[in-house]
Amino acid sequence: MSDSGEVEILLVEDNADDAELTMRTLNKANLGNGIVWLKNGALALDFLFGRGAYAGRSTGERPRLVLLDLKLPKVSGLEVLQQIRGDARTANIPVVILSSSTQDRDILRSYDLGVNSYVSKPVQFEEFAKVVTQLGLYWLLINKAPQAS
C-alpha cells in the first residue's frame, strides 16, 4: 500500500504464482504501490463493501482499478463483477477481467455484466509482462475515472 494507505489496485486472484507475477510486473513498472491482493471472490466483496473480514473499512476508499480473475473459489469472478456493478457505491470502479479463459461465452458474459476490459493472460513471460504493464499504465495513468462521491 502507498503511504497514504490509498488502494490503487485490488487484485483478485486465487493462483499465488499468477498473483506474484502480476504484482512483480506492476512493481517493475512502478505501478506497484497500493496493491491489495485477495484470494477469493468472497473476500473481494467483503473488502469493497466494508463487511465481514473488512468490517469497518470505509467504502469511500475505492480502489482505482479491480483486476479480477474469473475462476475463483467461493464467489466467481462474474458474480463479483455483477455485485460491483449492482451497488451504487462501487458501480463505476473500472474492472478488468484478467483470465486464462479465451472462451467466447466468458467474454460475452463479462461484457454483458459491464466489464471495462477483458484481457487473457499470456503464457509467455515477455508477453505477460507487456500485457500487465500496459494494463496498469492505461488504467492508472491514462484513463480518467469518475471520483468517488
Partner: protein, 364 residues
C-alpha cells in the same frame, strides 16, 4: 377356391356367398345371408384402426357409383371373435340399359399375416429410429463433454505453464550473476519447451473451437477470400521470392470464417514448405466437377512421401523435423475438420522434393 366371394343386392343385403367366404369369415352362410355392410358384428375398421362405416366400404360404394374398387384393406372380426385383415375388390353387375348396378360382387382374401408383418416392421422401425435418436443424442452429449473437457484442460494447463516460463525467466534475468553458462542453457531449454507446450495448447484450443463452432452458411466469393488471406500472410514472406497465382475461383457455399481458416492453413503451409526454394511457386485453383467444387493449393516446396498422404490430416502429425519446419501439426487437422463439417473431402498429393498439392471439396 381361396378367394371369398359375396354377392349383395342393390339394397346391400347379402344374397349369395361361396364356401371360401364362410371359411375366411369363420361364419356359416346362414349367419351372413341378409346382412348388410353395416352389420355391427364385423366391427369393420381401416388399417389405421378408425371405424370403416358400411357406406364407405367397397361394395356399397360400388352400388352407389357403379365404379369398381380393388385392393381395399379392411379389418373385420371373425365368428370366433378374432380380428383378421382382408383385401377387398368390388365389381358392379349391370342390367342392360341401366346406369346403376342391380348387384355387386365382392371378392376378398385374408392378408392378416402380411398386415401384421407390416405392422411389426413399422413398430420395429419406430423403435429403431427412437433408439438411433437416443444413441445420437448420447453420442452428441459425449462429444460435447469431451470437447469441453479438452477445452477446460487446455485452459487449466496454461496456468502452471505460465508459472514455469515466467519464473524461469525471472531466474534468468534477476539471478544472472549466480548462474554459469550451463545453467543459462538449461533455463533456455526449459523455456523453449514451455513455449512449445504453449503452442500445442493454443492449437488444441483452436482445434476444439473448429469442431464446436456452428457453421453459418453463406454465398462466398472464394477468389476474394483467397486474395484477402494472401494479403494477410504477406508479411510472413517478406524478403523471399514467392510467386502466387490465383485462378478464377467460383463462388461457393460455406462458412466465411471457417473457409478463411482453411485457406490460411493451406497457404501458410505452402509458404512454409517452399522456404528452401529460391523461387517459390504457389497456385490456388478451383473447378466445379459434378455437384462439388474442387479447390486446390499447389506448391513447389519440399513435398512429402506419398505413403504418408493420409497421415498428414491427423492431429499433431508431422512429417518434418521441428528444427527444419516449425509447427505442431494441427493445421491440416483443422482443415479436415472444417471441410468435413461442410460435407466435403480433403486429400493430398505430393512427392519428396517435388512439391505438394492439397485438395478440398465443397458440395454445391
Amino acid at each position: 377356391m381361396a378367394e371369398g366371394v359375396i354377392c349383395q343386392s342393390a339394397s346391400g343385403a347379402i344374397i349369395a356367398l361361396n364356401p371360401a367366404a364362410e371359411r375366411i369369415q369363420g361364419r356359416p352362410a346362414g349367419e351372413l345371408l341378409g346382412k348388410t355392410s353395416d352389420w355391427p358384428d364385423w366391427q369393420a375398421i381401416h388399417e389405421d384402426g378408425t371405424p370403416f362405416p358400411g357406406q364407405d366400404q367397397p361394395s356399397m360404394a360400388t352400388l352407389r357409383t357403379g365404379e369398381s374398387y380393388s385392393n381395399v384393406v379392411m379389418g373385420i372380426v371373425r365368428g370366433d371373435g378374432t380380428r383378421i385383415w382382408i383385401s377387398v375388390n368390388s365389381q358392379p353387375l349391370f342390367a342392360s340399359g341401366r346406369t346403376l348396378p342391380y348387384a355387386v360382387i365382392t371378392t376378398f382374401h385374408d392378408i392378416s399375416t402380411q398386415i401384421r408383418a407390416e405392422g411389426e416392421i413399422r413398430r420395429l422401425n419406430v423403435k429403431l429410429e427412437r433408439r438411433v435418436a437416443e444413441r445420437t443424442q448420447q453420442l452428441e452429449a459425449a462429444v460435447r463433454d469431451l470437447e469441453s473437457f479438452s477445452y477446460s484442460v487446455s485452459h487449466d494447463l496454461r496456468a502452471p505453464l505460465r508459472a514455469i516460463d515466467n519464473f524461469s525467466s525471472i531466474l534468468q534475468q534477476e539471478h544472472a550473476a549466480g548462474l554459469d553458462d550451463e545453467a543459462h542453457r538449461l533455463i533456455r531449454v526449459v523455456r523453449k519447451n514451455a513455449a512449445r507446450m504453449g503452442n500445442l495448447i493454443d492449437d488444441m484450443l483452436a482445434f476444439a473451437r473448429a469442431g464446436r463452432r456452428e457453421l453459418v452458411l453463406a454465398d462466398i466469393d472464394l477468389e476474394a477470400l483467397a486474395r484477402e488471406v494472401l494479403e494477410d500472410l504477406a508479411p510472413a514472406v517478406v524478403g523471399r521470392k514467392v510467386s502466387v497465382s490465383v485462378g478464377s475461383l467460383p463462388r461457393v457455399r460455406g462458412d466465411a470464417a471457417a473457409l478463411r481458416q482453411v485457406l490460411v492453413n493451406l497457404l501458410g503451409n505452402a509458404f512454409k514448405f517452399t522456404r528452401p526454394r529460391p523461387d517459390a511457386q504457389i497456385e490456388v485453383r478451383a473447378e466445379i466437377v459434378g455437384n462439388e467444387t474442387i479447390c486446390s493449393v499447389r506448391d513447389n516446396g519440399v513435398g512429402f512421401e506419398p505413403q504418408y498422404a493420409q497421415k498428414l490430416f491427423g492431429i499433431f502429425q508431422r512429417l518434418h523435423d521441428a528444427d527444419d519446419f516449425e509447427g505442431t501439426g494441427i493445421g491440416l487437422g483443422i482443415v479436415k475438420r472444417i471441410v468435413d463439417k461442410h460435407g466435403g473431402r480433403v486429400w493430398a498429393e505430393g512427392a519428396p522434393d517435388s512439391g505438394a498439392t492439397f485438395y478440398f471439396t465443397l458440395p454445391r
